[in-house]
Amino acid sequence: MVEHKGDRTFNAVNMLLLTVIGLVTLFPMYYVLVVSFTDPSEFIRNKATLFPQKWSLDSYKYLLSTDAFIRAIGNSAFLATVGTALSLLVTSCLSYALSRRRLQGRRFILLLILLTTLFNPGIIPPYLLIRDLHLINSIWSLILPVLTSGWYVLLMKGFFDSIPPSLEEAARIDGSNDIGVWWRIILPLSLPSLAAFGLFYAVAYWNTFFTALLYINDFDKQPLQVLLQNMLIDSSTASGGTAAAEMTAEQQIPSETLKMAAVVIATVPILMVYPFLQKHFAKGAMVGSVKE
């Protein structure tokens, strides 16, 4: 096949433009990384530079030595593991049951679930419910209200729909009940798909912010994102965050390098699951685009 001259120019310009877009996307992240590794004393002298002359791990060392930061990471890690496991369990159990056509009342339950994707009662009524359940300041208030969602159930049900009932029959002859069939046949079959849902759940739990803002007042129980908000955002406005005050009061490290080290640490887990996430983008995009 002959490449036309116009084609070649087109490709070159296209690649050039996309490279620029890629660099523009990467620049903020690169800059965060640079600031976080800049030697604190140099940062005070030179302010921001694109290539620090003196690198140091001081900001990281300090950050990881504070109780507040470690505790917040622990809380978020709990959400991302326990929360994800519970979400997957509840979502997959319900979706599987609803994918079996023989289930009576199936259409009614599906309708109930679909309606929740159309109308939400806002912020205050769920807040009152959490309060009445005495879950304020409990880490469970960050898991239970978001255990599953209508979109996830409908999407996962669509996946289970494609598993033929004949697969269950064989197991049922062996004397398994529905739970046995689900556990030993269906679940192993759908692991790759469950992994995709799990990754998206995990990222959502790790990034938990809004629900924590609503339901958690206790400083010790805040997830990482709230601590970050305290450090990064409250402290740069007039009010000044408690966490920032507590963490930056008696030390020599400028708050900027410390803040960016915190951003990097909070991003590392996402970068770690990112390659796995990439395999399942299309599915996630479907959820994301209809959900927002």
């Binding site: 009152l128 970050l228 955002i233």
Partner: protein, 326 residues
């Protein structure tokens, strides 16, 4: 209900006993439930979740017609009808919230929405898979960062003190620009942030749709002498037309929604006049100031308009011959 008639067909043997049809139906429904009891058990936690966390709060909406007091509870609180709604609509805050919401969403519709289409067309034209994969990995990444992190980075880049952009501006002899506290920049700043975070991610669905376009169409066009731009115009874009229409309509259906976290985090005293949207207003008045009934009314108003818009948008999609979402 379809499932019920289905089940009724399965109990022909019982006719000999001359049961009434209603009793027969009841019995076969019961048999089905008994047969599938473990299946119901699997569904139970999820159903309880939806009832407790999605349907119980629906009753909470009633407090928007009360002067709800947490000490008296919902039963004892005084009923006031539509008072809170009327107060909200006659309040100047309402117009401000409405203006800000529309401004932010219209900017997003004009400047954000076309970008993923453009970007996916560009990526689709790439011939080398390795380069394409790299670009994809890079532009998808910001989608997974939290708003806290993105706003934090924004401050790092744009603050008038240490922000690198302002340092560069100063070094180049320009004055510093108060990006973060000048109301004129606020809406634009939100749009740029959203573009950085999600324009790349937005290409996923378009690229998936493009992948299903028959490559023979392009070959045939090439033989007919069509250049790359004409192929894009006549083959690629028509191939993703459905996806564009569905996403556009969904976007319009959600025109009352502005991401709470982004606005809440970007907001400060200097820009609150242009920043406040329905959700941040509800949060501030309801959670922070304890005006529970009034803020619930604001939330209900927003949800009802949202519901009407989504249903309307869905109808519109079907008019265009698309499947719609519901």
């Amino acid at each position: 209900m379809a499932s019920r008639t289905e089940a009724a067909g399965g109990s022909k043997i019982e006719t000999a006993y001359k049961e009434s049809p209603a009793a027969k139906r009841r019995r076969s429904v019961w048999n089905g439930v008994k047969r599938d009891r473990y299946l119901y058990l699997l569904a139970l936690p999820g159903i309880v979740f939806f009832l407790l966390f999605k349907y119980v709060p629906m009753w909470g909406i009633l407090i928007s017609f009360q002067n709800y007091s947490p000490y008296q509870g919902m039963w004892a609180s005084q009923w006031v009808g539509f008072e809170h709604y009327i107060r909200f609509f006659s309040n100047p805050d309402f117009l401000i919230l409405f203006r800000n919401t529309m401004a932010i969403n219209l900017l997003s519709l004009i400047f954000f929405f076309p970008l993923p289409i453009l970007l996916s067309v560009m990526m689709n034209e790439l011939r080398g898979t390795k380069f394409k994969k790299t670009i994809q990995s890079i532009v998808y990444l910001p989608h997974f960062l939290s708003w806290v992190i993105i706003v934090g980075i924004t401050f790092l880049l744009l603050s008038t003190g240490e922000g690198i952009i302002n340092q560069l501006l100063a070094a180049a002899g320009f004055g510093k620009i108060d990006f973060l506290t000048n109301p004129n920049y606020f809406w634009g700043l939100l749009t740029v942030q959203s573009i950085w975070k999600d324009a790349g991610w937005g290409t996923v669905l378009f690229l998936a749709a493009m992948a299903s376009i028959d490559p023979q169409l392009n070959e045939a066009a090439k033989i007919d002498g069509a250049g790359r731009f004409r192929q894009i115009w006549h083959i690629t874009l028509p191939g993703i037309r459905s996806v564009i229409i569905i996403l556009l309509i969904l976007r319009i259906g959600h025109i009352m929604d502005v991401g709470f976290e982004q606005v809440f985090l970007m907001m400060n005293g200097a820009v609150s006049e242009v920043a406040d949207v329905f959700d941040t207003y509800v949060y501030r008045l309801g959670i922070k100031q304890g005006q529970l009934s009034f803020s619930t009314a604001v939330g209900v108003f927003k949800s009802i308009v949202g519901l009407i818009l989504v249903i309307g948008a869905n109808k519109l999609a079907k008019k265009f011959g698309e499947d719609g979402v519901y």
